[in-house]
């Protein structure tokens, strides 16, 4: 293991320990309620970037994957009272399948056509769920939380820790991909698909793989949301806000490095949470829009791009 990896995993363990300690020390539920949302957006942005950032295929279907995660959990819970871990694992499997199907159908299209197809996917799935009575249909469904498992004192604290685990899983995956042959292949096809293909890169297979991994992680991130809200309905689970927000977070953070979406999600997620408490939840979208415009104009490569430009390049081309 290289020194960088060692630092990374020490950091990850430190983060998880800190998250666990928080649940033991802080009695108030609100911080967990707020931080859960930020963690959820980190997972979504990081997973989105695997296809949207590394490969440059802009996916507007985040809400489709997120919503499917929510409803996989709802379905399994209603049908068998499945525990949370099973709900998340099943959601990941559903997300992978969905990513595979979406990829097969649409990844031959390039650029904007792919993006439009992903919006269509969201609408198709949302409509299907809205008309499925068993999981509540348009009216939504109430979820009764099961008893909490030790050492946690409340269910929200447990969900917070579970989402923290998913954060580490998503970032670890994304970081691994970036540094592996897969990341190099995706970068090449993002730059020039025909040239990549003629240099031996199996572009369709790599894009499919990225779509599967990205989809699985996004779906997994959605699974705990039903228990978090104790309620699920199609129009909020498949809300296009997820797609837009996640896109904005990734672009503002920068998509060329795994840390970009993390920074973007923390920055925007925290701002949104603060604004929701202090002013109103409506102003969220306004702030999102303004920040997106500012970054597109002033720093098209996001915060990571800004940092790279300011800091003189050390050992360029190495590592």
């Amino acid at each position: 293991m290289s020194r960088n990896s060692l630092f990374f995993w020490i950091g990850a363990i430190f983060f998880l320990v800190a998250a666990l300690l928080m649940t033991q020390v802080i009695g108030n539920e609100y911080p967990f309620f707020a931080c859960y949302v930020i963690l959820q957006f980190i997972v979504l942005s990081v997973s989105w970037s695997i296809l949207g950032g590394y490969a440059g295929y802009v996916n507007f279907g985040t809400s489709a994957f997120f919503g499917m995660g929510v409803y996989t959990a709802v379905f399994l819970f209603k049908v068998a009272g499945a525990p949370l871990a099973v709900q998340i694992a099943a959601a990941a499997a559903v997300g992978a399948l969905m990513g595979f199907a979406l990829g097969l159908l649409t990844l031959r299209m390039q650029g904007i056509f792919f993006s439009i197809a992903t919006i269509a996917l969201t609408i198709v799935i949302e409509t299907s769920i809205t008309n499925w009575r068993y999981v509540g249909g348009a009216a939504g469904i109430q979820m009764q939380r099961p008893p909490v498992i030790a050492p946690f004192n409340s269910y929200v604290q447990m969900l917070f820790f579970v989402q923290a685990l998913l954060v580490v899983l998503a970032i670890g995956t994304s970081r691994y991909i970036q540094n592996s042959w897969m990341g190099h292949g995706l970068q090449a096809l993002k730059d020039d698909e025909l040239a990549a293909e003629c240099t031996g890169v199996p572009t369709l297979r790599l894009k499919l793989l990225a779509c599967v991994i990205s989809g699985a992680l996004m779906c997994a991130a959605g699974a705990p949301a039903a228990m978090y809200l104790q309620y699920a309905d199609p129009s909020s689970a498949f809300n296009l806000n997820y797609s837009v927000t996640v896109l904005a977070m990734s672009l503002i953070g920068g998509t060329a490095h795994w840390a970009g979406p993390v920074v973007g999600a923390i920055l925007l997620g925290t701002t949104q949470q603060l604004l929701t408490v202090t002013i109103s939840s409506e102003i969220n979208l306004l702030v999102l829009g303004v920040m997106l415009v500012l970054f597109v104009v002033a720093a098209p490569e996001g915060i990571i791009g800004l940092i790279r430009r300011v800091r003189p390049k050390r050992n360029e081309g190495e590592g």
Binding site: H184, D191, L194, A196, G200, P202, T203, E318
Partner: protein, 247 residues
């Protein structure tokens, strides 16, 4: 020239490519022999680039077959053909712009060797540097591909193609827009590659260069072969002169 008894490296049989109602290639058949330096000429729009897009797999063909080293590759996707040993450069250079020159070549080393064996990073760096040195680009290894001059870009495209370890290299107007001294430089490079058992198909408008380079030449016009033979034969051909000079 290699003996006639050799099986062809590449056999193109009755290849036809249409774009809508326009026939870009009409029943083209040609054999490329191993080790040959093959020049492909023809006026603009005669189908030269279309032909190499069909060989490298960027285009699907309507009819005909492409056989490479006794294997029918007509339906294979481009990356598989690259792994089989067909490499190409592009008429307008297509570097991976977010990468350095070395990283551009690394993509080829990572994906085109196809053996799946783990090669230590230091050894891959050596392979890469030896290719860059041969191309005269060793000082540019860690420079971004966007910072290269036109002639350096052309060389990098050839270097990237070489990093896939090709048996057949297709050079699509690698000398267009270069000064005469740069043309000589690239021509010498291609000559030295041909000396290393790599079969080369060269598309070129600079007649002097392609005549000096080729063992054999072929002239396309409106998607048909109008002449094939030694450079002198092709240039003396009545129809070639008409195609270039007009009647």
């Amino acid at each position: 020239m290699p003996p006639e008894t050799n099986a062809p490296l590449l056999r193109i049989s009755a290849l036809t490519k249409r774009f809508g109602g326009f026939t870009a290639l009409d029943n083209v058949s040609v054999d490329i022999r191993p080790g040959e330096r093959f020049g492909l000429i023809g006026p603009n729009g005669s189908g030269k680039t279309t032909l190499i897009n069909c060989i490298s797999g960027a285009f699907r063909t309507e009819a005909g077959t492409v056989v490479f080293r006794d294997e029918d590759i007509t339906r294979l996707p481009p990356h598989v053909r690259t792994r089989r040993g067909i490499a190409r450069s592009f008429q307008i250079p297509r570097p991976f712009k977010s990468m350095t020159v070395a990283e551009n070549l690394m993509v080829a080393l990572d994906f085109a060797s196809g053996t799946g064996d783990f090669v230590p990073a230091a050894q891959r760096r050596d392979t890469l540097m030896s290719i860059l040195t041969r191309m005269g680009l060793e000082s540019k290894a860690d420079v971004s591909a966007t910072k290269l001059s036109q002639v350096e870009l052309r060389k990098m495209e050839l270097a990237r193609a070489m990093a896939t370890h090709p048996k057949l290299l297709i050079s699509d107007e690698a000398m267009a827009g270069l000064s005469s001294s740069e043309v000589d430089e690239v021509l010498d490079l291609l000559m030295s590659l041909a000396d290393q058992d790599i079969t080369i198909i060269m598309i070129e408008h600079i007649m002097q260069a392609v005549m000096r380079f080729s063992d054999r030449m072929m002239c396309l016009d409106a998607g048909r072969i109008i002449a094939i033979g030694t450079p002198a034969e092709v240039m003396a051909n009545q129809r070639v002169q008409e195609a270039y000079l007009g009647t």
